[in-house]
């Protein structure tokens, strides 16, 4: 990562505020949102922008998250750039419309504050909400901090609205750890963002002179071809993600590595894979262990859909053991991220041993000590000692 600021100004923001600033800089025509902890600050901050005439947009206070996504979709349908944000139960309530939006190919950008799902009721962070929306046809990005959140919202529009993609993007921030933690965030100028992100010119809009039917039935004879198109768009998105990351870096001086970022993986014997805020904690642990001479590496998975299958196939021959941190679990099997990584590894020649660590459920801390323990267990694995393939970390008993 080479993150040097070129211009703009620094402000002390939490992740939600960073998202609100990013949304403002992207000049959406329509914002339709319903507040939910821990996303609420996004709603409040944008509301403040609009009230203070610092932002011009149609700001719709809807009665539910389902309606929020419907309104965003209606806006996109007439060629407007649309933004929304939600979390957890709200995302679950949107579920039906997530399919409608991706299937209709509307390039909407949504921020999601990762929070666990009830029951038992809890407002704190894990990634079960967004990972359970895996198959809705949305591109999913996971960010590590407030700066990346701001940068990713801007990149998300460039990605979603790319002619080769035309697929909605969900930008995920870990609830509280990212959404409510304050840090210095570089806010680019409006001119810089305008130069990077041109106004939205929809390829998919209706107007009075070109009436079109939308979301119509596609019969059995035609339906599968629409799905094939979605898969092709997702496949093309892999390349576009890399392009957008490069172009963003050239404009703003911050590069993120595209689909994944490798941290000290060159000669690593064991690596951990994580998404979101846990990567920040893990960076410190990797530095500590490297000082002790341990060959540990870290892979920051930035995009969950499309999934970087080829990357993990390539990584498989380079390491002896791999740990996957999942802030989620697919009950009756294992963590969703681990499953996908194993699936990618299965088609590689040499397959390393994999331990799936289930951690950080419902906001439980993933401490540096926990992460050190994960590396210990991976080394045990490489030395032939028995380790369970699925382990809960930080469990009370």
């Amino acid at each position: 990562m080479n993150n040097k600021s070129k211009s703009g100004h620094l402000d002390f923001l939490n992740g939600d505020e960073a998202v609100a600033y990013a949304a403002r800089l992207c000049r959406p025509h329509v914002i339709a949102v319903y507040p939910i902890t821990p996303q609420t600050i996004v709603v409040e901050k944008i509301s403040e922008f609009v009230a203070n005439n610092e932002m011009t947009c149609e700001y719709i206070h809807v009665e539910s998250e389902h309606s929020a996504m419907c309104a965003a979709m209606g806006a996109s349908l007439v060629g407007a750039r649309a933004f929304t944000a939600t979390s957890s139960q709200g995302l679950a309530y949107m579920h039906e419309m997530l399919h409608y939006v991706s299937g209709s190919r509307f390039p909407i950008v949504m921020m999601n504050a990762n929070r666990t799902l009830a029951a038992p009721w809890n407002i704190f962070g894990d990634q079960r909400d967004s990972l359970s929306q895996r198959d809705t046809g949305w591109i999913q990005a996971y960010v590590e901090n407030g700066q990346e959140a701001l940068d990713m919202i801007i990149q998300a529009y460039a990605l979603a609205e790319d002619d080769r993609v035309y697929t909605p993007v969900m930008v995920n921030l870990d609830g509280f750890v990212n959404t409510h933690t304050f840090e210095l965030v570089d806010i680019p100028t409006q001119e810089e963002v305008d130069a990077f992100l041109p106004p939205f010119k929809s390829k998919n809009a209706v107007d009075f002179h070109h009436p079109r039917s939308f979301c119509m039935t596609a019969s059995t004879e035609w339906n599968m071809e629409f799905r094939y198109q979605q898969q092709e768009a997702m496949d093309r998105a892999r390349g576009v993600i890399a392009e957008v990351d490069k172009r963003f870096g050239d404009h703003f001086g911050r590069y993120y590595g595209g689909m994944v970022e490798e941290i000290q993986c060159e000669d690593a014997e064991v690596v951990l894979v994580g998404m979101g805020s846990v990567v920040g904690t893990s960076r410190i642990v990797v530095d500590r262990l490297r000082e002790k001479g341990l060959k540990v590496g870290l892979v920051k998975l930035r995009f969950y859909r499309p999934f970087p299958r080829e990357y993990f196939k390539g990584l498989s021959g380079r390491v002896k053991a791999m740990g996957v941190i999942d802030r989620d679990i697919s009950f009756g099997y294992e963590g969703a991220v681990a499953s996908d990584i194993k699936s990618a590894l299965a088609s590689a020649g040499v397959v390393p041993k994999v331990i799936n660590f289930i951690a950080g459920i419902a906001g439980r801390d993933i401490t540096k000590e926990h992460i050190e323990g994960m590396y210990d267990r991976l080394f045990n694995f490489t030395q032939g000692k028995d380790e369970k393939e699925l382990q809960f970390i930080g469990l009370r008993w």
Partner: protein, 102 residues
């Protein structure tokens, strides 16, 4: 009559011709809108006095008076029989679809 005419829908012939998401040009008719009609009205022009009661009452607005003699647009007539019922000259007969006119 301002109603859309039936036009042949051009189906995509390759993936590149598929629309971006399930959308298509609106306001066109690709097949008769009245395929489910059970009975059709048959107008005997020799009995018609052009009182236009049928033209006023037709719920679908499918009776055309612009050409002198009244014409019924069979692409849109749903066969309700209101015209035949109300015609003071009994100039309209309802005939079951598939049966010959008398």
């Amino acid at each position: 009559m301002a109603k859309p005419k039936i036009v042949k829908f051009q189906f995509p012939e390759c993936l590149e011709e598929m629309p971006l998401g399930p959308s298509a040009v609106a306001g066109i008719l690709t097949e008769p809108n009245s395929g489910w009609r059970v009975q059709r009205p048959v107008l005997d022009h020799s009995k018609c006095s052009k009182c236009l009661l049928c033209w006023v009452l037709c719920p679908e607005g499918v009776i055309d008076k612009s050409k002198g003699e009244l014409e019924i647009d069979m692409n849109y007539c749903k066969g309700c029989g209101l015209c035949a019922h109300e015609c003071p000259k009994e100039a309209i007969q309802m005939v079951r679809e598939g049966q010959d006119e008398q």
